[in-house]
């Protein structure tokens, strides 16, 4: 069974060939290219990976991702972005998925009522056309919902049960103002001691098309690797979703310095020590291969 890193990012220097947005963390001259990723994968026996677009959502911003997918069609699948407020997201998505290796798109908002007590008509959600398109064209939706959006998800999932959904990073829904970067250049999300997602995203386990990434531990934990304070979150996800709907990922490149790619390839064994060999193999790649339809190597 292949070992698949189900969520990570690569980018190159900003240039006219590969335009991208810049920030303090990814200035124009910084690069975390696919070759560096392939080295790490080789060293740690990881066969395939999902490359997730970052640093811009325009078509042009996707050029480096598209090149990587073209160059290594058997190694990678891609997840794209849609500019917020795009007047025609359906055309944008179609252009990016025309035999490119991009299989879906990442979102954090759904454009529905902020108040869970409001009348809910899913057809009025801003994201409705995107989900409809995903259902028609078999896109995967890669979701990292903002906390105020989490309650909207089951309405969309109910409306489109055929859409494959992957909840990123332990199904956490980051709160407004709770994001920062740490000394190692890694995203940090401040979360409450009581796991609020038990009452939102964890409750989506009954929908068979919903899957969850076991990743991003470094961003939520108050401890160093292996992030034992999150063991309960992992076992909660395992008991809710089962071993067939969980996918391991590293969130490369943020983890390269601390704890390092190699250590993260063991994080599932550390946090879920009672998994059977078959369950571990599923989480480490079998599920990603089946759910995301990775090509045979």
């Amino acid at each position: 069974m292949p070992r698949i890193d189900a969520h990570l990012h690569v980018f190159t220097r900003a240039s006219s060939e590969f335009p991208r947005e810049i920030s303090d963390v990814w200035p124009a001259e910084r690069e975390e290219p696919v070759e560096k990723l392939l080295d790490e994968m080789e060293k740690h026996q990881i066969d395939q990976a999902v490359l997730v677009q970052m640093a811009g959502a325009s078509i042009a911003n996707h050029r480096y991702l598209l090149q990587c997918l073209k160059e290594y069609p058997n190694r990678f699948l891609g997840i794209g972005l849609v500019p917020e407020g795009h007047p025609n997201p359906v055309d944008h998505m179609a252009e990016l998925t025309d035999n490119t290796g991009i299989i879906g798109f990442r979102f954090s908002t759904f454009g529905g009522p902020r108040d869970i007590f409001a009348k809910m008509d899913v057809r009025e959600f801003a994201a409705y056309p995107i989900w409809k398109c995903a259902a028609e064209r078999d896109y995967v939706l890669w979701l990292y919902p903002n906390a105020i959006n989490a309650h909207l998800l089951p309405y969309l999932i109910q409306a489109f049960p055929q859409v494959r959904v992957v909840l990123n990073h332990l199904a956490v829904c980051p709160g407004k103002g709770k994001f920062s970067w740490d000394a190692f250049g890694r995203p940090q999300i401040q979360v409450t001691g009581y796991n609020l997602t038990m009452h939102t995203t964890y409750r989506l386990a009954r929908f068979e098309n919903v899957n969850v990434h076991l990743s991003g531990q470094y961003a939520f934990s108050t401890e160093e690797f292996p992030y034992k304070d999150l063991a309960g979150w992992h076992s909660g996800l395992l008991s809710g979703f089962g071993a067939k709907r969980l996918m391991w990922a590293t969130d490369f490149p943020w983890i390269l310095e601390e704890p390092g790619y190699g250590k993260l390839t063991t994080v599932i064994e550390e946090l879920l020590p009672n998994l059977s060999e078959a369950e571990l193999a599923d989480i480490m790649g079998g599920n990603a291969k089946r759910i995301l339809r990775f090509p045979d190597l």
Binding site: I116, I148, P154, Q158, G175, K176, R206
Partner: protein
């Protein structure tokens, strides 16, 4: 104080729950509903801001510090219709741990799955859930597995769907109904597929153990606790 009947005692032992229909009624119920609605509305905007900030659960909310907001929330802690049973089952050594004055939104999925609250090594832990509005079937009613509070019951496993729990019973009821249950037992809020929020108050009690609740916990309502019985219930000094 209304003590439980022999039948009620037998049911409590065997099944781990009791239902008190019309436990609160008439003017007392209206007073409770008015206070609930007033404070739920007053606290909602702040709760939503906290949801957005990732500091509060998105699928239900509790009125913060309800005992300080209206004395009606204090008066239901030792309300006669169920207080006698609470006292009897804890050998007249009862303490309050706290209230949850809770509004649960209609949502495609219940906000929680089947679970017990405590293990069998815990001192007797009892909850009383009081419906503030009518709770119809399919609108977030309480569910319980009779007998699941016993040490030799089970093992139980949380099913994907609430209605798939073997041996469970659901408890729709009119406003003013109180359901008392042993928190070792497996329980849940059923899905709410209606368009009506479920308004209820969950009172949490335990058989007293030394130091479980300090006198500072409920000191802010000390003026409302003048009798020795109430001071003991609220773990207040003197």
């Amino acid at each position: 104080m209304i003590l439980p009947t022999p039948d009620q005692k037998a049911q409590w032992e065997a099944e781990g729950y009791l239902v008190f229909e019309n436990a609160i009624q008439g003017e007392d119920l209206k007073r409770l509903q008015n206070a609930f609605d007033y404070w739920a509305e007053a606290c909602k905007a702040e709760w939503l801001d906290r949801v957005e900030a990732g500091e509060a659960v998105a699928t239900f909310y509790d009125i913060p510090n309800p005992l300080e907001k209206d004395p009606v929330f204090i008066d239901i802690i030792d309300y006669p219709s169920y207080y006698g049973a609470l006292m009897e089952f804890t050998d007249h050594d009862l303490i309050l741990l706290g209230p949850q004055v809770r509004t649960v939104a209609p949502w495609p999925v219940s906000y929680t799955g089947w679970h017990p609250d405590v293990g069998h090594s815990n001192p007797l832990h009892i909850k009383v859930q009081i419906y503030v509005n009518d709770v119809e079937p399919g609108s977030g009613e309480f569910g319980f597995v009779p007998g699941s509070h016993k040490p030799d019951a089970g093992p139980y496993k949380r099913p994907m769907r609430q209605e798939s729990m073997p041996g469970h019973k659901t408890f729709p009821g009119k406003a003013g109904t109180a359901i008392m249950f042993n928190s070792c037992g497996w329980h849940v809020s059923m899905d709410n597929h209606s368009d009506t929020p479920r308004k209820s108050i969950i009172l949490i009690y335990e058989k007293r153990t030394p130091g479980r609740i300090g006198p500072e916990q409920f000191a802010s309502i000390s003026d409302y606790c003048q009798t020795p019985e109430r001071r003991k219930l609220f773990s207040l000094n003197g």
